[in-house]
Amino acid sequence: MASPKTSAPVAFSSLLSVIKGHFGEVVLAHRSDFGDDTIVVQRERWLDVLRFLKDAPSLAFNYLVDLTCVDYFGQEPRFEMVVHLLAFESGKRLRVKARIPEEDATIASLVPLWRSANWLEREVYDMFGIRFAGHPDLRRILMYDEFEGYPLRKDYPLKKSQPRVPLLSPEREEEEEI
């Protein structure tokens, strides 16, 4: 595997047409503001699209850079999964997104494609409460098991803490809360 940029990157438009040629209308939206190419895909085809992006020889987005989620509180659908990909051969980067509604906060897991998705998805589950279908070991990772709620959701208050041990001098605590 050579260092990136050995072959010319695929143009964004041809990439879109390749995806369209394979899946039909799976890309809901696309833009490339600030130099970052972005596509939004259907949630139901999430795993298929990413598998195609990874395996198709002309694309070969074989490196999972990052996987995260954004909570657009008040919009519908509420959550947006964001995955950053890198094609190692060509040095092309791509951002893939999918919208997830609050009432059915599930999406397919990417663990079959990349092993690093394991912990990343656990983190998203921990922070946003999104469930990943097919994840081998979905449990909290940064927070403790007793923690209730999902701290990075916009409706979780910044300062609402859930202590595991009784804190000393509770009266002082109250004083500070004011």
């Binding site: 940029k5 600030f34 970052d36 449990r139």
Partner: protein
């Protein structure tokens, strides 16, 4: 220290399943000398061989991302210092580059060189800490102190520039907080030989040390394919033989104008990771020397009222300047609506910032791509079948920085 037999939040494992001899379950961490205080590896050993392990962390989760959503862009910078606290300048740089990407501003040349130079100094201190700590955990206390001595000199010069030793808060979107102080280059010229000397002393103590080699060679080896599947980056990936370096592949600041090599290993074991780091320290010194030669004079910040505070002269004497200052401080800089991803080469690899802006003075969402998160996620994979004592060098060479990993 039977720390938290009952507290263990880990998964339940049936230890009564038929085995050859009785398995023993040992808690390594979270408050354990080799675990930097913040990671817990529950291992099950048969004799000394690890048959099962489960890595738990989050003991330093400080809510970085949530805090950022509640602060203006400038106020996020101190929080970025404390992500990878061993090389805070690189974290600053990544965040500033990401915000600059929103505005499309191009910082002055001098600023680029200073950023490059200071980033490389931070990288040296990062690698020194990593190697030193790993050596200390193997029992070699003396190399650790030698390296820390070298790091101390870097801290002093950084303090000269930025006013603080460690948590620096020096870079700003659109430039720097201040220009370089007088006598900076003389001082830098003085310490470079010392840094080289410290490195070579460590080299003598470790690289040819038979015990050190025995402890690290073929320990925690990972193949190219596995490493990529785990989204490795940085020295750990390069130790596997993949010459991927953000500084070369996607140059930022002044990296496209300096000449440096990317040290690459072959087997991806602990020894290779150590050697790659040693090589990178040498390359960093080379970059610094080139920057010292090439750096131009001039301002260190762009003259753009959207991102940079106006000069004090204008604030005191013109109403536009005063209003501009007030708005920048009170409301913060307001990038356009949208989202960016910007990566830099951190001490551990690709450090990316994904920022979503809703057009207000506070970021809607800040996500950090922590390089060591992915690297540490391979811990269980790497130590399976290894010996109990191998946890220490493997974990040390992965250079987990909890602030970055757990944010």
């Amino acid at each position: 220290m039977d720390t938290e037999k009952s507290l263990s939040p880990s998964a339940e494992v049936d230890i009564l399943e038929p085995t050859e001899t009785r398995r023993m379950r040992v808690n390594v961490g979270p408050s354990h000398p080799a675990m930097h205080g913040v990671i817990q590896i529950v291992v099950e050993v048969e004799g000394e061989t690890i048959v099962y392990s489960d890595t738990n962390f989050g003991y330093l989760h400080r809510g970085f991302e949530k805090e950022c959503e509640n602060h203006t862009y400038q106020l996020c910078i101190p929080y970025t210092d404390r992500l990878n606290y061993v090389s805070p300048l690189i974290n600053n740089e990544g965040f500033c580059l990401a915000v600059e990407k929103f505005f499309g501003v191009d910082v002055p040349e001098r600023c680029k060189y200073i950023r490059t130079m200071l980033s490389e100094l931070s990288r040296i201190s990062d690698h020194q800490t990593c190697i030193g700590a790993a050596a200390m955990e193997l029992g070699a206390f003396t190399p650790f102190l030698y390296l820390m001595k070298g790091r101390e000199l870097i801290y002093r010069i950084l303090e000269e520039v930025t006013g603080h030793r460690l948590t620096i808060n020096y870079m700003r979107p659109g430039g720097l907080a201040a220009n370089l102080p007088e006598g900076f280059f003389e001082h830098l010229r003085d310490i470079i030989p010392v840094i080289r000397e410290v490195t070579s002393e460590t080299d003598k103590l470790l690289t040819k040390n038979r015990i050190f080699i025995d402890r690290t060679r073929n320990v925690g080896a990972i193949s190219k394919e596995d490493a990529l599947s785990f989204s490795y980056s940085g020295p750990c990936l390069r130790a596997c033989g993949v010459a991927y370096d953000v500084r070369k592949a996607f140059p930022y600041s002044a990296y496209d104008r300096v000449d440096f090599e990317v040290p690459v290993g072959s087997t991806g074991d602990t020894l290779d990771r150590y050697l790659v780091r040693m090589g990178e320290m040498e390359q960093s010194v080379r970059i610094i020397e080139q920057c010292m030669r090439q750096i131009p004079d001039g301002p260190v910040s762009v003259n753009d009222p959207r991102v940079i505070l106006p000069p004090k002269q204008e604030v005191y004497h013109t109403i536009e300047g005063l209003v501009n200052h007030f708005k920048l401080v009170y409301e913060g800089i307001r990038p356009p609506k949208g989202e960016v991803y910007q990566m830099v080469e951190g001490g551990n690899g690709e450090l990316g910032y994904y920022i979503v802006s809703d057009g207000t003075g506070r970021p809607y969402r800040v996500r950090v791509r922590p390089p060591c998160f992915m690297i540490v996620s391979s811990m269980d994979f790497m130590i399976k079948g290894a010996m109990m004592a191998d946890i220490v060098p493997v974990f040390g060479s992965l250079n987990m920085i909890a602030g970055e990993m757990e944010r």
